[in-house]
Amino acid sequence: MFSFIVQRLMVGIVTLFGVAVMVFLIMRVIPGDAAVMLSGAGAGAVSEEELAQVRTQMGLDRPLVVQFVDWAGHVARLDLGTSLRTGNPVFDDITRRFPYTLQIVVMATLIAVFLGIPAGVLSARYAGTWIDQLLQALSIGGLAAPSFWVGLILILGLVSLFQWSAPLLWEPFWVSPVKSFTQLIWPALAVGLRQLALIARMTRSIMLEVLGEDYIRTARAKGLSEWHVVIRHGLSNGLLPVVTLIGFEFSALFGGLIITEAVFSVPGLGQYVVASILNRDYPAAQGIVLVLAGIVVLGNLTVDLIYGWLDPRTRLRGAET
């Protein structure tokens, strides 16, 4: 198990390095000179000499490799630079916004898992009946509905039914857990719907397979109660691929998050990354994209490790993916 962990960690580090290089390169080719942006005026309003001065100040006139090593060195010390847009250190901006995003991710995943798995189990247990057909129709629909549209419809419904209005102040979790829960439940629902549908479908197809196995017949023949058979013997053997799916879908979850935060104007990482990219605030964009990709890499790594722990066979293969 130890060498497995080390090997996975190495792969994760190499991937993170690749991510850093890609982020750096993408941000350097964004048109719209960062120096122009920084000097605070539109293109043409500043003289060439002033621009050259700003570039020298920011180190933008050095070779790309030197700039990258410099940036990577700072990143390693958790210094992501200063945002051109907000004027704050990027690291501070990110830490202030991270709790909201984390809370949405956790809530969305919990909703998806605790509704999706039972839905899938029910579907498989009553395969072919109206329960199954209803649940399948719902999950196919849930997969096709774009999360930002679901968010918009949720807002429309909330406003017309409950005179809901978008919170001006989003409470952090530790200030007022209940309030932040009620505020973030809607974006979490919009984000989690796709995950919920995917998990339900996946659980259904796995359970159908598992419930046809010999040991399930044996368990039934022993006279165990139906739900004991389905849950203890069936589900616990079918959970593994669902865990993988949750890990795999981690990056899709963040994609949905970016747009849903924009819909609900939640002051989280999603909004920050969109504003940074669109405003060519490249220190902030570099930093936040790196952090988001890093979270996905860590998420995948965690799933790999959980998988290795749950299923010892995977520890032996490993490198070949």
Binding site: T15, G18, M22, A145
Partner: protein
């Protein structure tokens, strides 16, 4: 990961065989009918997609109003007998904008999934077939691309390239590349061990010829499956890019754009502004998912678990 798609060499032959084995006169049509009876949802998806294609191509003839010039006398008019789906803040007919917007969604959806799958599959096939350093480097680059949330990679690319239809297609193809590459590579690894590739090499075929004539046709089934799977995803992501302001720009009609900006707050007085474009996206994605599921079942039932 579990993407080992052990594809029997003849798997993609099944559908063709069904179609070919049928007696010549009207046989193919009857075979198609048989397939659609067995997969009614897939047939429904194909029908909806085909309808959208027809509507998009014939937009100038079908759309009742101009999609860009609004009627200033009819701002925010709710759905009625003149404007079937109502009008927006500029008095533009929602239905006409939806019809023209279908062009954007279709072009971007099909363009991005095709481009992404072609580029990704080429990389995957060459890397998997050649092995060695080329493989290792491609793999690490693909791993890094995998780590970006799809929408984030597309958003960054769209910002780099600037907003235009062509650039949106390229931006949305980017996240599909590593996914297609991974699938193509894993089927190549399986194929490489088979006897017929060995035989091709023994008869003196060049590597290029083996890859093009022997490997590529045999990876076709999984590639077709992910191409349809990513069609729907690309449509949603395109709408998302437009929504965020990084995609198609006003006053061009696009489904994502119709819901963005002020539309959110306007929707409180005129909900039809956001409801119908969303429904259009929903329908298109639903159709391509259903079609994708049916194609997957037809080509290889075993794939069901690997691709949720």
């Amino acid at each position: 990961m579990t993407t080992s798609i052990g594809l029997p060499a003849a798997a993609d032959g099944d559908v063709v065989a069904v179609l070919d084995a049928a007696p010549s006169r009207g046989g193919r049509l009857r075979a198609l009918g048989r397939i659609s009876r067995r997969h009614p949802l897939g047939a429904f998806g194909a029908f909806v997609l085909l309808t959208i294609v027809v509507v998009a191509v014939g937009a100038p003839y079908i759309a009742p109003f101009d999609p860009i010039e609004g009627d200033t006398a009819a701002l925010f008019s709710p759905p009625n007998s003149t404007y079937w789906l109502g009008t927006d803040a500029f008095g533009r007919d929602i239905l006409s904008r939806l019809i023209y917007g279908a062009r954007v969604s279709l072009m971007v959806g099909m363009g991005a999934s095709l481009l992404g799958v072609v580029v990704g599959a080429s990389l995957g096939i060459v890397a998997g077939y050649r092995g060695g350093w080329a493989d290792i480097i491609t793999q690490r680059v693909m791993d890094a691309m995998f780590a970006f949330p799809m929408l984030l990679l597309a958003l960054a690319m769209a910002a780099v390239l600037g907003p235009s239809l062509q650039n949106v297609i390229i931006a949305l193809a980017m996240p599909i590349v590593p996914r297609a590459a991974r699938i193509a590579r894993s089927s190549v690894l399986v194929l490489k061990a088979t006897a017929f590739i060995e035989a091709a090499r023994a008869t003196g075929c060049s590597d290029t010829r083996i890859m093009l004539r022997h490997v590529l046709p045999n990876t076709f089934a999984p590639l077709l499956i992910i191409a349809t799977a990513y069609l729907g995803l690309a449509v949603v992501q395109e709408a998302a890019l437009d929504y965020l302001g990084a995609g198609i720009q006003e006053p061009e009609p696009s489904w994502g754009l119709m819901m963005s900006g002020a539309a959110t707050s306007l929707a409180l007085v005129a909900p039809w502004i956001v409801i119908f474009p969303g429904l259009a996206i929903f329908l298109m994605v639903l159709a391509s998912n259903l079609l994708g599921d049916a194609i997957r079942d037809l080509l290889d039932p075993k794939l069901q678990r690997d691709y949720p």
